[in-house]
């Protein structure tokens, strides 16, 4: 491993994706022309279909106006091939954003399910063609326990109806405002489904709350909104996504996650995203962290053709802390542009960023980061580590860690390493009987271990297995 001194040039490689296996799939479906592209009419339709109160419709319309005004992002991967007018932003309840039958799901995704040993019923849920499987009972039992403690864990659409005061107060104003960027505005206008999580003061939920407990409740996985409020002194861990590939018909995923961690609270948000490779994953995730509170982001990103994702922590309160741990895998035809953003505002705040990326078969996996220390954010401590592993000469990784430090007392450390698998390491593992593929996979798994170990076991096992699958045929 050598220290990264100069940036390698990024490439736009989305055109290499083999689209053919996805493209002919929805011919039979008659998606009305009117529902393609985002118009005020579509926004009104979404709101009325959901029987939303006027205040939410107003928010959507305001966001839509901002969306129309704003330009595309001026950094990162090319979005030139993303035609926003060709996207279906809402389907009526008799339609679906997913494949409608098992036969429609591409063979390679089915194969991956098999290799991961995912049970039949669960496969269908993951592919979006099945109903919720047998976890219903488990869910209800947990739900009762949570309810007794005052925890709210609901579908976002339902939360708008049931908890309007909370949603009104927190939805896309303080944390991720509509005006944040074009896709935030698009999301504000077209959002559908998602999760609402509220943990009352001083309540601790020891086991991770998992989104899949209510997976089928939100078919609109495309623009889902996640709103999480952790009250003072409360603690929780929420885990979302799935390391098995999620197959969706749409080519745009623009979700939004807003987290509020109040005084003395602690929250961990874990996610594993593996969208099918026909997808642009343009996701916004942000947390506001109050006094002495702790926010932890743990994320794995394997899928999508293009990903732009930079979870952000705003360390507003004194003594607040944020940890950002992430791993990204950029394979053939993939462009992963991921990273972290931390804004230090309070005094004696602390942030720790650890990013690991792997690129292979001509893929790109970049780190893009921003740490900003505001004047008055005295004695901030920042540690940024980004490691990239490039598995072949055709693949690319570059690091762009920006630091804006406006406070003399700040302590900042930054390290970027870039490397490949050494011939001697490979020889060592192979001399113990492992094939080259196996040896490479093992070295890669070791490389991401510091992040994978933070995930719940079943996710960690599945992620490791998936890396093995991705590594197959890695030998030139």
């Amino acid at each position: 491993m050598t220290t990264l001194t100069e940036r390698t040039k990024p490439i736009a490689s989305f055109q290499n994706i083999d689209r053919s296996r996805f493209d002919d799939k929805n011919k039979e479906r008659s998606v009305k022309k009117a529902t393609l592209g985002l118009t005020e009419e579509v926004v009104r339709l979404i709101s009325s279909e959901k029987r939303e109160p006027d205040w939410m419709l107003d928010k959507r319309l305001e966001s839509f106006r901002i969306y129309e005004e704003m330009g595309m992002p001026k950094f990162g991967p090319s979005l030139a091939k993303l035609d926003l007018n060709e996207i279906c932003y809402y389907r009526k309840s008799d339609e679906t954003t997913h494949a409608t039958s098992w036969e429609e799901v591409p063979a390679d995704i089915k194969r991956t399910f098999d290799r991961l040993g995912i049970p039949e019923a669960e496969k269908k849920v993951l592919a979006g063609v099945g109903a919720q499987y047998e976890s219903e009972n488990v869910y209800h039992k947990l739900h009762k326990e949570w309810e007794e403690k005052g925890v709210i864990f609901e579908d976002m659409d339902i939360a708008v109806q049931k908890y309007p005061e909370l949603v009104k107060e927190y939805f896309m104003n303080k944390c991720v405002p509509f005006r944040d960027h074009k896709f935030a505005a698009l999301h504000g206008a077209a959002w559908s489904g998602g999760t609402f999580l509220y943990i009352p003061k001083n309540v601790t939920i020891p086991m991770p709350l998992q989104a899949y407990f209510r997976m089928n409740a939100s078919k609109g996985g495309q623009f889902e909104h996640t709103l999480i409020i952790i009250e003072e002194g409360a603690q929780a861990h929420y885990i979302e996504g799935c390391s098995a590939p999620q197959y969706g018909m749409s080519s745009l995923h623009a979700g939004c996650v807003e987290v509020f961690v109040k005084k003395g609270a602690r929250f961990r948000y874990s996610s594993v995203e593996n969208w099918s490779k026909n997808t642009y994953n343009l996701n916004t995730k942000r947390a506001i962290v109050e006094e002495s509170a702790i926010m932890e982001w743990v994320g794995g990103n394997l899928g999508s053709g293009v990903t732009m994702l930079y979870p952000c922590s705003i360390l507003k309160g004194d003594h607040s802390r944020a940890d950002h741990l992430s791993v990204a895998f950029g394979g053939k035809g993939q462009y992963q542009d991921t990273g972290a953003k931390v804004i230090h505002i309070g005094k004696e705040t602390k942030s720790n960023i650890l990013s690991k990326s792997i690129s292979k078969d001509g893929g790109a996996a970049n780190y893009r980061g921003l740490v900003r220390i505001f004047p008055g954010a005295e004695h901030a401590q920042v540690s940024v580590n980004c490691d990239s592993l490039i598995l072949d000469e055709a693949s690319i990784s570059c690091a762009d860690p920006v630091m804006e430090i406006h406070e003399d007392s700040a302590e900042v450390s930054h390290e970027a390493k870039i490397g490949s698998i050494g011939e001697d390491e490979l020889f060592y593992a192979m001399s113990r009987g492992m094939s080259e593929e196996q040896a490479r996979a093992m070295i890669v798994q070791g490389f991401i271990e510091p992040i994978v170990k933070e995930l719940p076991l079943e996710y960690a096992v599945e992620l490791n297995r998936l890396i093995e699958l991705e590594m197959e045929g890695a030998i030139g």
Partner: protein
Amino acid sequence: MPVPKKLLQIKNLQVTVDGKTILHDLSLNIEPGKVYALMGPNGSGKSTLSNTIMGHSKYHVEKGKILSRGVDITHESPDLRAQRGLFLSFQYPKSIPGVSMSNFLRAAYKAVKKKEIRVFDFNKLLKQKMEMLHIPKDFADRFVNEGFSGGEKKKAEILQALVLDPSVIIMDETDSGLDVDALKVVAAGVQQLRSPDKAVILITHYFRILQYLTPDVVYVLKHGHLVAEGGHELAKRIEKDGFDEFGKNLSDPHAAKKRALETTHTAMGIEMEEGKPESEESPFAVID
């Protein structure tokens, strides 16, 4: 199944590294039940030979053959050689961060034995072998060679050999970097591996390990040539008189310079290895 007479044969081997010829027309026969000592001064080609036997891609066989139980493995990949029962205890084992010893060894065990083993059963096996080498329990959870002391690395190599149970064990300078107690433990470990159907090759320029493991055959290597072959008494003679008397007629363009350097280093108590940074670890390091 009868044990073949020759576990490993090296036939007229010529090896180049980066275009430079390191081994010249080298032939060796390794028979079951025997302990071999492969001796020679620094730069004589000992490590080149061990890496070539194991199949490192950096070492090119220009001429000659390597046979394992009569099968030509000259161009086989290292994993297949390991599966045939060849094992190299590395002089400088590589670390694999993030991979625990137990996971690494279980994967190796499954590959070499070509069978599944339950985690529970494997851990039992591992624990037993670790106790044999006086290795503390938490060792199994540590990452492969990461942050290991010199002595721990050597013990870890022997541990791997005990778990994988190979038929030809090549120990490349396993005795360097060990204190007397650790050396005894390692020698006892190797003793465990000895059996009528296995062979042990000790590559060394020390004599310390030979006090604990008596070689049946001693080969002397110099400037990439096999210059002498004999029994245990040959090692004794070298211990007394050094390597100078061997291969005097061989030309080595760098010999004079190298000898001068070696003398200096020996005087300073520093050991010099082929192409390695000097004193990566002290030969007298004490293990934990």
